[in-house]
């Protein structure tokens, strides 16, 4: 890895540590969910009912860390901050691993020629 690349990875790591801003700022400014990404209960509050198809499909998939929380939603703020950072790190590692695999495949393909 070149020095430049190393610097970029460190930059990404710093970014991961700063991600809690992404949950703290919306809280400070009292901003809600992204438009169109409401949960079933929020939809009901907004329009008075839950569309049938939405109700059926909303819980189709149970993600291991829903909404970037590694534990329950109602834990303390400090825990949520930590949980968000851990999610960022998990995402970063997952991206790195996928493309490490991809670059191995590329190297193999180029070598085979």
């Amino acid at each position: 890895m070149t020095a430049f690349q190393k610097k970029l990875w460190i930059g990404l790591l710093i970014m991961a540590l700063m991600t809690p801003l992404g949950i703290l700022l919306p809280r400070i400014f009292r901003a809600e969910e992204a438009w169109g990404e409401w949960g079933v209960h929020q939809v009901e509050k907004l329009i008075g009912y839950v569309p049938e198809g939405l109700n059926k499909m909303a819980d189709l998939w149970r993600a291991p860390f829903p909404d970037y929380h590694v534990a329950g939603d109602d834990s303390s703020m400090a825990f949520q901050v930590l949980s968000y950072i851990i999610s960022g790190l998990i995402g970063m590692v997952a991206c790195a691993l996928v493309f490490l695999l991809v670059s191995r495949l590329i190297a193999k393909a180029k070598h085979g020629k």
Partner: protein, 230 residues
């Protein structure tokens, strides 16, 4: 901009899966042919960057939140086809591990953020930049590339939401999926991105491009070309 499960009818999400699969196949072929080795170490970084920047939710005080995607700078630095793959991988990880964006909506979300956005951003950058290789013109091109690329993705997302009430209603006439009409979804999504989230994407694109042009000029796909220094 991550459409959850249940907001799109099968008549919407199945065709969009088809379109995204076609683009993934094309991207795979393109990269097999012309991905330059100098870019390989940056693939994982690009994806990680897109993943992380999307965690920075930007609030509209008292309103909604949104975020940059990073697809514009990835398209400029590594080429639009590489961006298709990198951002798609991010969206798949987000959906499967973090439940951000639906599983059924993955095709739609990838089409909006990982196909349309990189190509709109890349095309705009090239168009506005002209023959310039630095200076104000390149900076403006980079800003617009991020600003309008993200807004284009938001517009498409809004259209996908907005056509749902036209496509599927129950026996009582109520929408089965996303409930809001085009006349509401489009202005809300487009305006919030023009006012705030697009500005963030534009600034991120402009500043990062400046950094790369200064330190690793030959890496920049949209300026140095795909195969320099191979």
């Amino acid at each position: 901009m991550h459409i959850p499960d249940g907001y799109l009818s099968p008549q919407t999400y199945i065709p969009l899966f088809g379109v995204s699969i076609v683009f993934w196949r094309m991207a795979q072929k393109k990269l097999k042919k012309q991905l330059s080795l100098k870019h390989v170490p940056y693939l994982g970084m690009a994806a990680a960057f897109s993943f992380l920047i999307q965690m920075f939710n930007i609030p509209i005080p008292g309103g909604t939140t949104g975020h940059a995607v990073g697809a514009a700078i990835i398209a400029i630095l590594l080429g639009p086809w590489t961006a298709v793959i990198a951002v798609s991988v991010v969206l798949i990880i987000q959906a499967i591990i973090f439940g951000d964006g639906g599983i059924t909506a993955l095709g739609a979300n990838c089409f909006n953020m990982a196909v349309v956005m990189p190509f709109v951003s890349y095309g705009l950058f090239k168009l506005v930049k002209g023959r310039a290789t630095g200076g104000v013109r390149v900076a403006v091109a980079a800003f617009l590339s991020g600003y309008l690329g993200l807004t284009a993705a938001a517009l498409l997302t809004a259209v996908e939401f907005g056509i749902q009430p036209l496509m599927a209603t129950g026996a009582d006439g109520r929408p089965l999926y996303a409930p809001y009409p085009l006349s509401l979804a489009v202005p809300v999504m487009v305006l919030e991105h023009l006012a705030l989230f697009g500005v963030a994407e534009g600034l991120v694109t402009m500043l990062l491009l400046k950094y790369f042009l200064k330190h690793e000029h030959d890496l920049v796909y949209a300026i140095a070309g795909p195969s320099a220094n191979q």
